[in-house]
Symmetry: C2
DNA sequence: TGCAAAATTTAGATTAGTCTAAATTTTTTA
DNA sequence: TAAAAAATTTAGACTAATCTAAATTTTGCA
């Protein structure tokens, strides 16, 4: 099949493709913590295998078969994250690196049985959708808290920043996936936001946090 | 830490050390399906890292730190096999290759929680002991069925051959781990063995099968 | 629109792991 | 106990994935 490195590149290209239809060499290098020259080498290899469309100096995008592989890796990543949190009681900020390794376990049968064992979860611990075995999934329309008005409410359904410090901060504030919140105030001066959870807890978050916390209305 | 290849070599050396205290280059090559020259290269590398004792032309054995790593890989392998059979309902003949990949997942915390999740199983689906997180385990004294006399009985507790065809055959004959059997006859001519299970089922097995099926008395 | 800066690719190395073929050492055996 | 055979190591190559430094192409802005 594909090597671990190839799989990581395809996944990165997939994620970067969300916000632009052509992905640049430097973007990939930054995402994977490698050098642009290494990326160029790999792009040639992936293009050779018809997993990406690549024109020198013009960036890349995934072919249908490349996208299929990428989505499968993401499915495995998110199912393992769910397993680690729901079955092994890890916190949502602890599971990313482990899933980064586990997503490369190759057996399709294994992942389908894992999916079934857990009752076909629809979302991973960070609120991201888990593709089904055919690669199908739908992305909910989420807005950052910073886009809400005073008195609007919604359900915390995702995060834009997946780093540990951010996730730990949210957990401490009890701002976790599934919680209902209502905006109580927006401070003009620094765009910080005051809100309350359904347990009437009052929380005040910075503009940056509000930008990275996603809501379904 | 160690690369996947290094881990596989250490594990192989460990297994081969059971029946001889020095393991030869060719034995390792056969076990890992590589060439002797590749093995020599790796032995130099492992000796350099002080994981094995290696003298040119004289074979190798594990140092204490090499053994510790090997046992940890085996612990992970067997725990994942147990998981696959007990939680994901795989058959005992289907899990080896998957565990071969999963044993390289690095997190110690993960494997300890997996162990706990499953209730600290003592044996894998093939009857092999699962080392605890300190690497401790005890090997039961097992005998092949071929070493029993007529009318002796015992509990099926392990297999010497881990290949699918053998495991499938045993399963079909209902000769699985935990079953109690009694020898009813031993045929002089071909050393085949007749036995009955606790459900009174009569089974006749060849000398070869009797040699590879292990019993605790 | 034309140059400087930024982005990207190429050239040339390096490391890990593997291989084949040849050389060397050990073991067997006549 | 000296060949012959078997086992092992060395020599030299190859692939995958990286890197640094230099060359090339694109882009942006004066
Ligand atoms: Mn990964
Ligand atoms: Mn996630
Ligand atoms: Mn393995
Ligand atoms: Mn086993």
């Amino acid at each position: 099949m594909n090597t671990l490195a190839e799989e990581n590149y395809l996944k990165s290209i997939y994620h970067l493709s969300i916000s632009a239809d052509n992905v640049s060499t430097n973007q990939i290098a930054a995402a994977l913590n490698t050098k642009a020259s290494s990326v160029t080498d790999m792009l040639k290899k992936l293009a050779e295998k018809a997993l990406i469309n690549y024109t020198r100096y013009q960036g890349v995008n995934l072919t249908p078969s490349g996208e299929k592989i990428a989505i499968n890796i993401i499915r495995k990543h998110r199912l393992w994250e769910y397993f680690l949190v729901e079955k092994l009681n890890f916190k949502w900020d602890q599971v990313h690196d482990m899933a980064e390794e586990m997503e490369h376990i190759s057996s399709a049968e294994l992942i389908d049985r894992l999916d079934e064992f857990m009752g076909h979860p629809r979302h991973d611990p960070h609120g991201d959708p888990i593709p089904d075995s055919e690669g199908r999934f739908k992305t909910a329309e989420l807005k950052p808290v910073s886009a809400l008005m005073v008195n609007q409410c919604g359900i915390i359904s995702g995060v834009r920043d997946h780093t540990s410090p951010f996730l730990q901060y949210l957990e401490k504030q009890q701002l976790t996936i599934g919680k209902k919140i209502t905006i109580t105030d927006i401070i003009e001066y620094d765009h910080s936001v005051a809100l309350k959870t359904d347990t009437e807890k009052e929380v005040h978050i910075s503009r940056e946090v509000a930008n990275n916390l996603l809501i379904a209305l």
